[in-house]
């Protein structure tokens, strides 16, 4: 079995038409291997979040191909995309995006409940909450915990469905520096412990220290490392 968990070929995303046309992504081709901790960096408006939305199947590319675990996702219909997101992807958002009315535990269980695997959901969610250090907070309402705790809960939620890839969009962007460091360490340790692939979008590359790979997005184009080499299409 191939180690490639993500393959993107000639990905383009164009917003608007005519004079207002904006090329958010231009011919982006990236391959990510299993267990990699990949950083996508770039300045504000460079297209890094657009790229993450494409990988997360939250938005559709104008052209190009995205393969996750060997499946061409660009041909899937909406229902299958939802199911694919639920089974293969985990999300960590800048603003945590926990459902405020639910408890921390219920939030973490949610992806599994959507899958319909309720029986083991609670056990797995509790285990993950223990790992991220929220054992004593799990029955609190999600809007009653701190930002750092909320992001830890979001990490647990992102991992509970044993996804192929965890996508994190500016996970430290809404945290103070101490909490941000804790979150970075937590993600890295989870990646190591579980062999989990992480794709993290950030504007603050230094916060993450050593990582497996860095991709820079500039004006919608992807470069390996810090703007050194333009990534070309593999296929």
């Amino acid at each position: 079995m191939s180690d490639k968990v993500l393959e993107m070929y000639n990905l383009n995303k164009v917003y608007g038409e005519g004079d207002t046309k904006v090329h958010a992504l231009q011919d982006v081709s990236i391959t990510v291997n299993k267990g990699e901790f990949l950083l996508i960096v770039g300045s504000s408006g460079s297209g890094k979040s657009t790229l993450l939305n494409m990988i997360g199947l939250l938005d559709r590319p104008t052209s190009g191909k995205i393969l996750i675990d060997g499946t061409n996702t660009t041909t899937l219909n909406d229902g299958k995309i939802s199911s694919f997101r639920n089974h293969k992807l985990g999300f960590i958002f800048q603003f945590f995006n926990l459902l405020a009315d639910l408890t921390v535990l219920e939030n973490v269980m949610l992806p599994r409940q959507i899958q319909g695997t309720n029986a083991s959901a609670s056990k797995d969610a509790k285990e993950l909450l223990k790992i991220v250090g929220l054992e004593d907070q799990m029955y609190k309402q999600a809007n009653k915990i701190s930002g750092g705790q909320a992001q830890r809960a979001a990490i647990a939620r992102g991992l509970v469905n044993h996804p192929t890839i965890v996508l994190a969009d500016e996970p430290t962007g809404n945290l103070d520096s101490v909490s941000a460091q804790k979150i970075v360490q937590l993600m890295k340790s989870m990646a190591k412990k579980l062999g989990q692939t992480f794709i993290v979008v950030t504007h603050d590359r230094h916060q993450f220290g050593d990582v497996d790979r860095v991709i820079t997005i500039k004006d919608g184009r992807a470069f390996e490392g810090q703007e050194s080499t333009r990534l070309e299409a593999v296929a």
Binding site: G79, L99, D101, I114
Partner: protein, 385 residues
């Protein structure tokens, strides 16, 4: 999970509840009023079945017809009636007061009290008991300068040959019915006296038949018409006999019911609005749910389920409140305009129909907002914070 807008949900439930309650209140008041009028017309004037003749008067013996009816097990009693109009005058304190074209009803006092409840409307004195006693309707008594029991009045009537006939009567009673459906605008005398005055010996205007089971009216009517095929009898159930009086009411009730159902439609629009508000207020949550894998169908189910909950609670509370009001109206013998006691009944088929319609409307009203919720794209929904 998307249910935390309790205020909005309570509003939606209240909309359904109030819609149902309005229909129940309308039903209690207007159907109760209609049924009360039917009841009074039945009790005072027509009976459950009224027999008349195409030739204005029945010339067959009233005794034999009454006996024929009273042999039928469904018939409680039957009584003859005769009607005309008369002028009536009274002299009070040397002044002569006259009222013309006063309806006059001739009754058989012994039979009438079994087939009709007119005798119960006697507010003062007593019912007709002798050939020269007269009961004045309260309005007639008032028009005659406040005639009282014991007063003497003179009646002038034109007989079948066009001759004026005069007779003096002693007022034995004043009739005043709740709601005025009785003989408040008429006078009541002994039927034989009226026959004499009209020179219609042996004639009867109508036979009023009271049934112990009103649902058998058509059956008794058909039996009667089959038994007397060669006579010119007209047999009518209360609905047929009182059609003229009831027709206006019927359309009025239909209109009121329509207003009730419009109210229900308004509730449905309220639910659409509230559900739309909930969808708009929950855009981010819908986006998050969609992002972590919820399908459009899952979102649809959540909002439809919300509609079902709104419909179920609203229909239950509304029906309970409506039934509570109905029972209250029944137990307190609620009356219209403080006079006519309403005929309040619980019609379970209508209660269930109203609840089911409301419940269904709540679900239907949730369809569009639910559909709108499914159309949100996760990335746009989450951006819309």
């Amino acid at each position: 999970m998307l249910f935390n807008k309790r205020g909005s949900l309570v509003g939606a439930v209240l909309a359904v509840t109030i819609g149902i309650l309005v229909i129940h209140v309308n039903f209690v008041i207007f159907q109760g009023l209609f049924d009360a009028i039917v009841r009074d017309l039945t009790d005072y004037r027509f009976g459950n079945l009224q027999i008349t003749d195409e030739e204005d008067y029945i010339d067959k013996s009233d005794q034999s017809l009454v006996n024929w009816f009273e042999r039928i097990p469904y018939v409680e009693a039957a009584t003859p009636r005769l009607s005309s109009t008369a002028s009536i005058n009274i002299t009070k304190f040397g002044e002569r007061i006259e009222e013309t074209r006063v309806p006059i009803v001739g009754v058989d006092p012994l039979r009438d009290i079994r087939a009709s409840t007119v005798h119960n409307t006697i507010a003062e004195g007593q019912f007709v008991y002798s050939r020269n006693s007269i009961v004045l309707g309260s309005n007639v008594a008032q028009d005659l300068g406040g005639a009282k029991v014991g007063d003497s009045v003179k009646l002038k009537i034109v007989d079948r040959y066009g001759q004026e006939q005069l007779k003096r009567f002693i007022v034995t009673g004043i009739a005043k019915s709740p709601g005025g459906q009785g003989f408040d605008y008429s006078v009541v005398v002994h039927i034989d006296t009226l026959r004499d005055l009209m020179d219609r010996d042996g004639y009867t205007g109508s036979i009023m038949v009271k049934l112990n089971d009103p649902t058998k009216a058509t059956e008794v009517k058909d039996l009667f018409l089959r038994t007397f095929p060669n006579e010119d009898f007209i047999a009518e159930t209360i609905e047929e006999a009182a059609e003229e009086q009831l027709a206006g009411f019927r359309s009025g009730i239909a209109m009121i019911n329509m207003i009730g159902y419009f109210g229900m439609m308004s509730s449905a629009f309220a639910i659409v609005t509230i559900q739309m508000m909930l969808v708009n207020g929950k855009t981010k949550e819908i986006g998050i749910m969609r992002a972590i894998g919820a399908k459009r169908r899952d979102i649809l189910i959540i909002f439809l389920f919300q509609g079902i909950i709104i419909g179920a609670i609203g229909a239950t509370v509304g029906t309970a409140a409506g039934l509570g009001y109905t029972i209250y109206a029944k137990e307190t013998k609620m009356s219209f305009n403080n006079s006519l006691p309403l005929e309040v009944s619980i019609q379970w088929d209508k209660v269930i129909q109203t609840a089911l319609i409301s419940f269904s409307l709540a679900i239907i009203a949730s369809l569009y907002p639910s559909y709108r919720a499914t159309k949100l794209f996760p990335v746009e929904a989450m951006r819309n914070v």
